[in-house]
C-alpha cells in the first residue's frame, strides 16, 4: 500500500520540462522570427497609411512635417463617403441575409442527405468559388446589365451573392455535419415536424456556424472588389470600389486623402472584425476546428 511519505515540496521538481523546451529552441526561433518579421512589415504597411493620413506634408523624411485631420474631411466630401458607407452596409447586410437564407437550407441538404446527382450539384456550387471573379464577373455583369439589374444596388447584391451562397454552403457544411443527426431524430421522436426541427433545434445549434459564416461573407463582401466594381453604378459603389477610384480615377488628389479613405475603410473592417471575434474563434473563420488539449 502506498503511503504518503513526504510533503510535496520535498520532492525535487522534474527537470524534463525545461530541458525539452531548450532543445526545441532553434526551430522555434526561426518560425517565430518569420512570424514577427511578417507582422512587423504588416504593421509598417498599415501604420504608414495611418500616419500619412494625418500628415500635413510628407516628403523625404521619416515622419510627416505636421499633422492635420483635414484629409478626412476632404475624402469624406469628395467621395461622398457617407453615402458610400451606407451603401456598403446595405449591400453587406443584404448579401449576408440572402446568402444565409439561400445557403443554409442547401447546406443542410448537402450535408445530410444523399440523393441522385448530389455530387454534380456540389460541384456546381463549388465552381463560383474556384473560378476567378473576373471570369464570371464580366459575363455576369453583361447579363445583369442586359436585364437592367446592374448599375445599381440590386446588381451589386446579386453579383456578390454568387460567391457568397457557395461560401455559406461550404462553411456551414461542417457545422451541420457536426450536429448529431440523432438530435434531429430525437426531436422528431418527440413529435416535432420538419419545420419545428429546423427552427427550434437546428437553428439554435447552428448559431456559431451561422455567425461564423455571416461574418466571413460580410468581410468578403465588404472587401470584394472585382464583382462590385463590375456591377456597381455611380450610386451603388461600396467602399473598396470608391477607394479604388480614389486611387485611380482622374483628377488631382492628395495622397493623404486617399490614405484617409483607406483608414476609414480599415476602421470599418476592424470594427466588423472586433464584433465578429466576440462570437467566433479566428480559425473558425476558415474552418471548423476542435481545440486540442494542451501539453
Amino acid at each position: 500500500m502506498a503511503t504518503i511519505t513526504q510533503a510535496p515540496p520535498a520532492r525535487p521538481p522534474a527537470s524534463t520540462d525545461r530541458r525539452r523546451r531548450v532543445a526545441a529552441r532553434p526551430a522555434a526561433w526561426i518560425v517565430w522570427g518569420v512570424v514577427i518579421f511578417f507582422f512587423l512589415n504588416l504593421l509598417g504597411v498599415v501604420a504608414s497609411v495611418l500616419v500619412s493620413s494625418f500628415g500635413q506634408r510628407w516628403f523625404d523624411t521619416w515622419l510627416p512635417d505636421g499633422y492635420t485631420t483635414s484629409w478626412y474631411g476632404r475624402a469624406w466630401d469628395e467621395f461622398a463617403l457617407m453615402q458610400v458607407i451606407v451603401v456598403t452596409l446595405e449591400v453587406s447586410v443584404l448579401v449576408v441575409g440572402l446568402s444565409l437564407l439561400i445557403g443554409v437550407p442547401a447546406a443542410y441538404v448537402l450535408a445530410r442527405r444523399s440523393f441522385p446527382g448530389k455530387r454534380l450539384i456540389f460541384l456546381v456550387f463549388l465552381l463560383p468559388i474556384l473560378m476567378p471573379p473576373i471570369t464570371y464577373g464580366i459575363p455576369l455583369a453583361t447579363v445583369l446589365y442586359k436585364f437592367g439589374l446592374a448599375g445599381n444596388m440590386s446588381g451589386v447584391v446579386l453579383a456578390n451573392l454568387v460567391p457568397s451562397v457557395p461560401f455559406v454552403i461550404l462553411t456551414m457544411t461542417p457545422f451541420i455535419e457536426q450536429i448529431d443527426p440523432r438530435i434531429e431524430s430525437a426531436a422528431r421522436m418527440c413529435g416535432a415536424g420538419l419545420r419545428t426541427v429546423f427552427l427550434r433545434v437546428l437553428t439554435p445549434l447552428l448559431v456559431p456556424g451561422i455567425l461564423a459564416s455571416a461574418i466571413l461573407v460580410l468581410v468578403r463582401t465588404v472587401g470584394m472588389f472585382e464583382l462590385t466594381f463590375l456591377t456597381a453604378g455611380p450610386d451603388s459603389q461600396t467602399l473598396v470600389v470608391a477607394l479604388y477610384y480614389s486611387m485611380s480615377a482622374s483628377g488631382i488628389r492628395a495622397q493623404q486623402s486617399v490614405d484617409a479613405m483607406a483608414v476609414i475603410y480599415t476602421s470599418m473592417m476592424l470594427v466588423l472584425l472586433v464584433v465578429a471575434l466576440r462570437y467566433v474563434n479566428p480559425t473558425q473563420l476558415v474552418a471548423q476546428v476542435k481545440e486540442e488539449p494542451e501539453h
Binding site: 451603401v87 446589365y145 436585364f147 450610386d235 480615377a249 488631382i252
Partner: protein
Amino acid sequence: GAPEGPGKSSGDTTGEVPERPARAVTLNVLDVAGNLQLTQAMIDEFVSKNPNVISRVTYSKAPAPELAGKIKAQQGADRVDIGLVLTGVDGLAAGVEQGLWTDVLPKFQDRLGGMRNYLEPAAAMQQLAGNAGVAVTYYPSGPLLEYLPSRLSAPPTSADALLAWAKANPRRFQYARPANSGPGRTFLMGLPYILGDTNPKDPAAGWDKTWAFLKELGQYVDYYPSGTTETMKNLANGTAHLIVSTTGWDINPRVLGTVPKEARIATIDGFHWVTDAHYAVMPKGVSTDTQAAVLALLAFMLTPEQQAKAYDEGYFYPGPAVKDVQLSSAPQKSQDAIREFGRPEYDALIAGNPTEVPLDAKSLVAAFNRWDREIGGGKVKQG
C-alpha cells in the same frame, strides 16, 4: 440612399424639350474627368437659385473607361438615370462612337449663349467634340517639365538635352503611363510637335521620331507609374528629379502640399500646347424635363461669373473656357491660392506658344496601345 432616377419617372424622352421643366427634377451628375472639382460650386449655386428647376442634385464619380459601358447598359435597360455627364475628350469620344449622347448642337445653340464667347483654343476643343458635348472648362495643359531646384539646377530645354540628361541621370526622369495620366498623354501628343514629326495627328504613320525618341528615353526610365500622382510623389521625395507635368498638375499639388512649393517648371524649345477641356454631355434616354433643366444649368455655367470659379486652386489652370474671365472675380480662396502658387510666366507662355487640339479618340487609343506594347511593355523584355 440612391435616388430613384428622373429618367424613369417622367416617361417622355424624345419629345419637345420645354424651356423649363414642368416640375423640378432630381439631377444625377456623373463625373469621369475630375471636373466637379471645378464645377460643383457652379452647379450647387444654380440649384440653390433655381429650386424650381432642379430640386436635388447627386454627384458620383467613376473612371473614364467605364463610362460608355455604364451608359450603354442603362440605355439598353431603358432606365437612364444619369442626367449629366462631365467628361474629358476620351469619354466623350467613346460615347460619340457608340451613339450614347443627345446632340445638343445645333438644336439648342440659342439656349447656350455662352458658347459664343469661348476662348479661341476652347472653341477648337469644342469643335473636336462635334455636336454632343459642351465644353465647360478649358486649359492649355502641357507638356511641361517639373523639377525641384534643390536637386536639379539647370533643367534640359531641348529634346536632345532631355535625352542626354536622362542618360546621365538614369532612373531620375519619369512620366506616368499615358493611358492613365494627363501629363503622360500630353507629353506623348506634344512630342511630335517638338521633334518635328511628319504628321503629329497620325500616331501610326506619322510619329517615327516620337516612337524612336520614347524608346531611347525608355532605356533610362526605371518604370512608368500607373498615375500622375505617383510621379508627383516621387518628385517630392526625391526618387525622381525630373517629371512631366501640366499647368494644373504644377499648381494644384503644390497648393495641396503634396509637392514642395519651390518646385519649378521648364519647357522644351519649340513646344506646342496640347490643350484639354472638360465637356458636359447628356445621355440619350433622359427625360425632356431633365434635358430642359440641364440646358438651363449649362447656360448658367457658361456665364463669366460662374466660369471664374473654374480657376479653383489651379487644378485646371487657368480653367475658364470663355473669354474675359478675370481672376479677380474668382472666389477669394482661388485668388489666394493662385497668387501664392501660380506662376507669372504662364501668361507669357500661354500667349507665346501655339496651341493644338489633342488626338481624336481613335488615334489616341491606338497611340496608347502602341505605347503600352512598345514602350511600357517593352521594359519587361529588356529587364
